[in-house]
């Protein structure tokens, strides 16, 4: 953002608060919302007409294998067990887990690939449902990253930097664009568990870094309290809470009359927002009113709260309500060993619901204004980690190439972008790095990634640091 616009944005928010007067029932304004920017009309954002109003980011945590899902390499079948040629590996760094391995046997995918849809996209048999929406997908096959371990790699995808401390992409977008909904946060996170062992996640992955904390992602959880501390204490009714808030507003208002500090009014408004969240969030997370057809579309898991499939339904409901950045994390893609069995399980948990989300958004007319992103933090190696057999193998982390897909607002459907070599080891055409992806996502939202900035420690930081190019070829 232009530094002047940066200060204006913050200032407008403040002056808006200052202008607001009165006690209870004041329209909610700030905080999580960031919505006042919209309400006031920020001078700077969006920079140009957006193609998408919001993002649903389906983060596949652990590093899904591009070789077994998207990147079809038929020539590998003949090379099973052959040591990966040094000319391919080019001595690049390996993780500490396989760096000491004495050989690097090529492990072709045991899963069958076929072309799907009018676009003829290649997909593996693990993704039968995704195959049905192949014509909606823009499959990126030439992503690459700098990190080779989970935490730095996820942090890089989330914040544009490998070390913790910078704002996450959702926070940047909440800061820049605010929310369309007065009763819900601008940035919501939903986490689900995969099969088998999962790598750890951290709250900071959706943290606001040096941006004000009101832009941090709010994690919704399954169970009684979808948002921490949302429910009234046992035995304390909503009716009593209403009266409580009225009295609270009266007392705070008495204070304000004596000490005209705008923070007091903001606080009054935040309590009202909290009260509305006590209704709007349970209403949002209560799937009991969804018709049976919804659950049929998203699959049997979707009836179980906290599953990826149930979270996909929630993602659609959040999108309907105008939440700006909706991010799912599904854990369990880290298949160093026993990959064939585990990846089957992961796909059973995610394939149908991911495809259903696309279909559902489409039939509700939301797909054109919602950018859906599917992908993990890196790919996996073509060589087997540990023993290779006819039916079993493992794969180590692979940062040099991997696949993701985009769908919906702003991107070309039914295409694939970029190409890797015969081993899916190096990129041979159209490499795309994490900054490019970030720049492109922001572009779809009408944001110039070079102009969304925040001054911290003397520097005007941005999500893409000093990097990033919008990949125009995939834009519709």
């Amino acid at each position: 953002m232009h530094p002047l616009a940066e200060s204006q944005l913050l200032r407008t928010r403040r002056s808006f608060l200052r202008a607001a007067t009165g006690g209870a029932g004041l329209a909610a304004l700030t905080s999580l919302l960031g919505g006042e920017a919209q309400a006031e009309g920020s001078p700077a954002l969006p920079h140009f007409p957006p193609r998408a109003k919001r993002v649903i980011y389906l983060f596949q945590h652990g590093g899904p294998s591009q070789l077994d899902l998207f990147d079809h390499k038929p020539a590998l079948a003949k090379l099973r067990g052959v040591d990966l040629p040094a000319s391919v590996r080019m001595g690049q760094r390996l993780t500490g887990m396989t760096a000491f391995q004495s050989s690097f046997p090529t492990a072709p995918s045991i899963f069958r690939f076929a072309r799907h849809g009018r676009s003829g996209q290649w997909l593996s048999e693990l993704l039968p449902h995704t195959a049905k929406v192949a014509d909606e997908l823009c499959i990126l096959k030439s992503l690459h990253t700098e990190a080779i371990n989970h935490d730095p790699a996820v942090t890089f995808f989330q914040t544009g930097f490998q070390l913790a401390g910078r704002p996450s992409i959702g926070s940047w977008i909440a800061y820049g664009l605010g929310s369309e909904n007065q009763d819900l946060p601008a940035f919501v996170v939903l986490v689900s568990q995969g099969v088998g062992g999962s790598q750890a996640l951290a709250d900071r992955q959706w943290g606001s870094g040096f941006l004000p904390t009101r832009y941090q992602g709010v994690k919704f959880r399954s169970g009684a309290d979808p948002v921490l501390y949302l429910s009234n204490p046992g035995g304390y009714s909503a009716e009593a809470r209403r009266r409580f808030l009225d009295d609270l507003a009266r007392l705070n208002d008495l204070k304000f009359r004596q000490t005209p500090d705008p923070e007091i009014q903001t606080r009054i408004a935040q309590y009202e927002m909290a009260f509305r969240m006590q209704t709007s969030v349970p209403e949002l997370t209560d799937l009991s009113q969804e018709p049976g057809a919804t659950f049929e579309l998203y699959g049997p898991d979707s009836r179980k709260p906290g599953t990826y499939a149930a979270n996909c339904i929630l993602a659609r409901r959040l999108a309907e309500r105008g939440v700006r950045f909706i991010q799912l994390f599904h854990r369990g893609w880290d298949q160093h060993g026993n990959l064939p069995q585990e990846i089957r399980g992961q796909c059973q948990q995610t394939d149908q619901a991911s495809a259903a989300l696309i279909q559902d958004l489409r039939q509700r007319g939301l797909l054109d204004e919602t950018l859906v992103v599917w992908g993990g933090e890196f790919g996996r190696t073509v060589y087997s980690q540990g023993a290779l057999s006819e039916t079993n193998y493992g794969r180590d982390h692979h940062p040099r190439c991997f696949a993701m897909w985009l769908a919906g607002g702003g991107v070309k459907p039914g295409m694939s972008y970029g190409e890797t070599d015969d081993f899916s080891y190096n990129i041979v055409d159209k490499p795309m790095d994490v900054h490019d992806l970030h720049a492109t996502i922001l572009h779809c939202l009408g944001v110039d990634h070079t102009r969304l900035t925040f001054k911290f420690q003397g520097r005007h930081y941005r999500l893409t640091d000093v990097h990033g190019n919008v990949v125009r070829e995939i834009l519709s």
Binding site: R93, A164, V227, G235, F244, T259, P262
Partner: protein, 1037 residues
């Protein structure tokens, strides 16, 4: 913000034309031009620099950018006002534009002769005379003169003093983090003496809670946490460092000393334990334990973190910007970054940290109680030793009589009894046989087991040690060829398996502790060689240190030199909840190819580290009667000792035997106690200094030129007598010539008390930082701090007793609008409490706050399953019980990846990296937190209980009492009316809902007072909760 503030700070141009470069001009040049025309210009191929006066005014390349007195001919002005967009600066692609006012400022400054100044914060602070002000009776100390002078320039008047109760609550929160108790309030209000306030301040500064309050912000800056961070985020133990910080503030350690000890306490001559603990400051950074990392990469990150944190905390500089390239704004080259890096790059550490617990280098850091317990044991041990000495002659006579009575059969052998885990004499079958039957043949002591290279013996349940346990393995062996194969192991029976084992390998002794053969193991091999066709006694001791220094190998009772093959052990066998159930094996373990061929005898396993003399004694292998038969003069020392030990164990008078038993037990107790001592990760130096290289683009694997340690050129050099190492750096840092340390420190105190620093950018005193709102006041405070010997309590006392601090925070709307952040200080501070105070205040008002200072971190209420949602399998949040639920929030266990949600909601620093700027937001999550978190609901009920028990019977009195517990003042009549209405409502509400009332009261571990009527208590609880949720309750006024 800058634009707005500049308008506030700088008077309108027409009115006051004298511009000051540092205040008015440098910020524009820095923010709008330096990114290209600054210290890193050359790297971009840009010839013009505007950060240096000579370059900016140089005629060397044609028309100068700046011609003093001639703005219209200055290239700078020509270009920033150029009509053609393509030629106008800043260029369009930069996204940077100059406002019209900024262009005018530059033009006016050049017209005034373009006077230059060195960046203000790099010049030493000079002590200004407090200005003369007309309203002198308002001035209580020099602070007020500086503030008032500025207010008078702005045509503003200071506000009156705050009401006394407000003032006491303000200063109590500021100095101890806790509100005053009703008794403290009453005493203060009763005290009519003119220095009543000064006395209260002195009382607060002397409170042990002062140290806790000051430590809270220091922990933010020092990125203190109870876990390692990154992905696995296992537990670490740095609380002894945290307690050292609390203690240092409480004993008012001079700030320069406080600084020096944290940077280089370990390098001071005869460094004390406390001085070494202090250096934990620079080990508080995150540490990566992930399996697949490249350790060198993270070793670099740790050093970078130290440089960045040290620069931010003590210098207010953003040195991290120069990691990859020259600083864009400040005069620091990339090379200078790595010269600072070199001071911190000599720690004997590994890039991959221990998965559980602390990573070396570390020190055992017993608490005072533990030190006392250890000394008590030592005294008891000494008492027994004195008794032995006193009875020396009699004992010697008795021993001689016993020696001469010893019969050859049955042969007695001495062996240590304490800590014995398994004794396997191998005289007959006993253990489980695997893969064939070892035969039993005459051995070194009685029979021995003969292994044929295929068979082994398994002993389930023995030697259940993990990588952090101590143990000893001792045995005799005999082989006809160079001994080879597994001797005694507890590991999976496959090559390169998990576990530990003592081996012979081609005649050398080999010991390993392995979690993963490839990258997570400790392996050592002896230099001396075992010979065939003779008996050898061999032993290994291991302290559980995970490091080679914790291993000793013994060959025939003598310590054997060994080589370290691998030293990267970091994950326990129980990692991620794994079960490790392998039996102890003799002659095998590690697969069939590793089975032993030869004889093993007298295998002994101890759950302690046997000292050398005991292993020497075991290696004698001579029956006691043979030793006794030797003339005393020809016995070796160890032979004499064995005789003595055996006598004391079996033949001495009963009371002596008992004392001997006790002596051994006490010694073992002392060792066990020492093993419970907490440790702290500390700084240390490698014996051989490590070279430091500039890292191209900041990457660990692209070293450039070698650099020597040193400080940036813009600053004075190291003091002449200082060594060029970390200690020298610390001396430089704390030297009075350093222009930054005192300014940066006093500015943080100011921020703590007033909400915003005199320099708002607490973390950045460089060119992109903010010009101080009161430069003279900042320098006066800085010089005052140094003048008083860096006396923190005195400085704080000066500030909080100033008239400036004592003003009311109630502001007229016009003032609030004109100066929303209160930078001009025409009123007292009013801002939301820091996260920890929001909770601590509620606990204090509830009367349950546990006042205990220090100790391991605790786990108060937290919603269920928070950790489980995100982390890996084997860490669970086990909530504390009893008083530990009510400790101050400073002691709340801080897990970096899933930080305490209540503290996070209220903007606590993230503890991932250094944070010195306080951050405050106002969100609905905070509202939900205060209304519904069990912490605050339980506190409300406890406050209600106090209202009902401690105040009179009248509802109004009870309401007043509860209100005052939180806010330190009685409610106004209007407020009381609202409270009464709320009480009435809730009474009615709960009267018809007794079951709901009961549920409402059952929040938290403490039981509701059964003597109080349920609906009544519930109604008061709701009102107490109302009070805790007030804006004023979470605000310092």
């Amino acid at each position: 913000m800058r634009v707005w503030l500049a308008a506030l700070v700088a008077a309108p141009l027409c009115a006051a034309p004298a511009l000051e470069f540092n205040r008015d001009v440098r910020p524009i040049l820095s923010d709008k031009c330096f990114a290209c025309h600054g210290p890193d210009a050359a790297a971009k191929g840009i010839p013009l620099r505007l950060d240096q006066e000579a370059a900016a005014k140089s005629t060397a390349r044609g028309r100068p950018a700046i011609i003093p007195g001639d703005p219209e001919n200055s290239e700078l002005i020509r270009r920033i006002t150029h009509a053609r967009r393509g030629l106008r600066m800043p260029p369009a692609h930069s996204g940077v534009t100059l406002a019209a006012g900024e262009i005018e400022t530059l033009r006016a400054w050049i017209a005034q002769g373009a006077p230059w100044q060195k960046h203000w914060s790099f010049l030493p602070p000079r002590r200004p005379e407090p200005p003369q002000v007309p309203q002198a009776d308002w001035v209580r100390n020099p602070i007020d003169a500086f503030v008032l002078a500025r207010l008078e320039r702005e045509n503003l008047a200071p506000s009156p003093e705050a009401p006394r109760e407000t003032l006491l609550r303000r200063v109590s929160l500021d100095l101890t983090g806790l509100p005053p108790t009703p008794a403290e309030l009453d005493a203060f209000l009763r005290d009519g003496s003119p220095d009543a306030y000064e006395k209260a301040v002195s009382r607060l500064l002397a409170s042990p809670h002062y140290g806790e309050r000051m430590a809270a912000r220091w922990l933010d800056a020092a990125r203190y946490a109870d876990t390692n961070g990154y992905q696995f985020d296992g537990e670490r133990s740095m609380w002894r460092w945290r307690d050292w910080v609390i203690g240092a503030f409480n004993r008012n350690q001079p700030f320069d000393e406080f600084t020096l000890e944290q940077i280089a306490g370990d390098l001071l001559p005869n460094a004390t334990l406390d001085q070494r603990i202090a250096t934990g400051f620079n080990r508080n950074h995150r540490a990566n334990t992930e399996d697949g990392i490249i350790p060198e990469e993270y070793a670099v990150e740790y050093v970078v973190d130290r440089v960045e944190t040290t620069s931010t905390v003590f210098l207010g500089l953003t040195m991290g910007c120069a990691r990859c390239h020259n600083h864009k704004y400040d005069p620091f080259t990339q090379q200078e970054f790595y010269r600072l890096f070199a001071y911190f790059n000599n720690v004997p550490e590994h890039g991959r940290a221990m998965k559980y617990g602390n990573s070396p280098p570390l020190v055992a850091a017993p608490t005072r109680e533990q030190q006392e317990a250890r000394e008590a044991l030592a005294r008891r041990i000494e008492t027994i030793e004195r008794r032995f000495a006193a009875e020396g002659d009699a004992l010697a006579r008795a021993q001689r009589a016993w020696e001469s009575s010893l019969a050859p059969a049955p042969a007695q052998f001495w062996s240590p009894a304490v800590g014995l885990d398994a004794a396997l004499p191998l005289d007959a079958p006993g253990a489980e046989r695997v893969d064939g039957a070892p035969s039993f043949v005459p051995g070194r002591l009685g029979q021995a087991a003969r292994f044929d290279g295929a068979s082994l013996l398994a002993v389930p349940g023995a030697a259940q040690f993990d990588i952090d346990d101590r143990f000893t393995l001792s045995l005799w062996l005999y082989a006809e060829a160079a001994p080879h194969g597994a001797l005694v192991t507890r590991m999976s029976d496959r090559p390169e398996g998990k576990g530990f084992g003592l081996y012979a390998r081609q005649g050398r002794l080999h010991f390993h502790v392995t979690s993963n053969y490839v990258n997570d193991a400790l392996r050592v091999d002896t230099e001396p060689v075992l010979r065939p066709n003779r008996w050898h006694h061999v032993a290994v001791t291991y302290t559980g240190s995970k490091m080679a220094e914790g291993v000793a190998l013994y060959l025939d009772g003598r310590p054997a030199d060994f080589r370290v093959d691998m030293e990267t052990l970091y994950r326990p066998f129980r990692n991620a909840g794994a079960k490790f159930t392998e039996p102890l094996r003799l002659g095998g373990g590690g697969g069939k190819e590793n089975r032993f061929r030869g004889l093993l005898d007298e295998v002994r396993v101890y759950a302690r580290v046997l000292p050398e003399e005991e292993l020497q004694a075991l290696a004698l292998g001579t029956p006691v009667h043979e030793l006794a038969a030797k003339p005393a003069a020809r016995r070796t020392e160890i032979e004499n000792r064995v005789l003595r030990w055996q006598f004391l164990a079996v033949a001495a008078p009963a009371s002596i035997r008992q004392a001997w038993q006790e002596w051994q037990t006490l010694r073992e107790q002392a060792e066990q106690l020492e093993r419970t001592f907490p440790t702290v990760m500390v700084m240390a130096e490698r014996p051989q200094p490590r070279d430091t290289f500039l890292l191209i683009r900041g990457q660990y694997n692209t070293p450039g030129e070698k650099v020597m340690p040193g400080v940036p050129e813009v600053f004075p050099p190291l003091p002449p007598d200082a060594p060029n190492n970390r200690l020298g750096f610390a001396r430089w840092l704390t030297s009075p010539d350093n222009p930054l340390l005192a300014r940066v420190a006093v500015n943080r105190y100011w921020q703590m008390l007033f909400g915003v620093g005199l320099v708002k950018t607490t973390e950045d005193f460089g060119s992109q930082g903010e010009w101080p709102s009161h430069p003279d006041l900042l320098d006066w405070l800085a010089t005052e701090y140094m003048r008083t010997g860096w006396d923190t309590k005195a400085l704080l006392k000066t500030i909080v007793t100033s008239a400036t601090y004592r003003q009311t925070s109630q502001a007229a709307p016009a003032l609030a609008q004109r100066d929303p952040e209160n930078r001009l200080l025409a009123r007292g501070p009013r801002f939301r409490l820091p996260a920890e105070m929001v909770r601590d205040q509620a606990l204090r008002a509830a009367g349950v706050l546990t006042p205990h200072i220090g100790g391991p971190s605790v786990k108060p209420y937290q919603p269920d399953g928070l950790w489980k949602d995100l982390i890996m399998q084997d860490m669970e949040y086990v909530q504390s019980k009893g008083p530990d639920l009510y400790r101050r929030s400073l002691y709340t266990f801080w897990k970096r990846t899933v930080a305490p949600p209540m503290l996070v909601n209220f903007d606590a620093a993230n503890r991932e990296a250094c944070v010195v700027r306080e951050n405050r937001t106002n969100t609905p999550l905070q509202a939900l937190n205060l209304m519904n978190d069990v912490t605050f609901v339980e506190a409300a009920r406890l406050i209600a209980q106090r209202m009902l028990r401690e105040a009179g019977p009248a509802p109004a009195d009870r309401l007043r009492y509860g209100f005052r517990l939180v806010l330190s003042r009685p409610p106004s009549a209007a407020e009381l009316e609202v409270l009464k209405g709320s009480l009435e409502f809730h009474r009615d509400h709960f009267a018809g809902r007794p079951e709901e009332a009961r549920r409402y009261l059952r929040q938290g571990d403490s039981p509701p007072d059964p003597a109080l009527p349920v609906p009544e208590l519930a109604a008061y609880t709701a009102v107490a909760s109302l009070v805790l949720n007030l804006d004023e309750a979470v605000t310092k006024e």
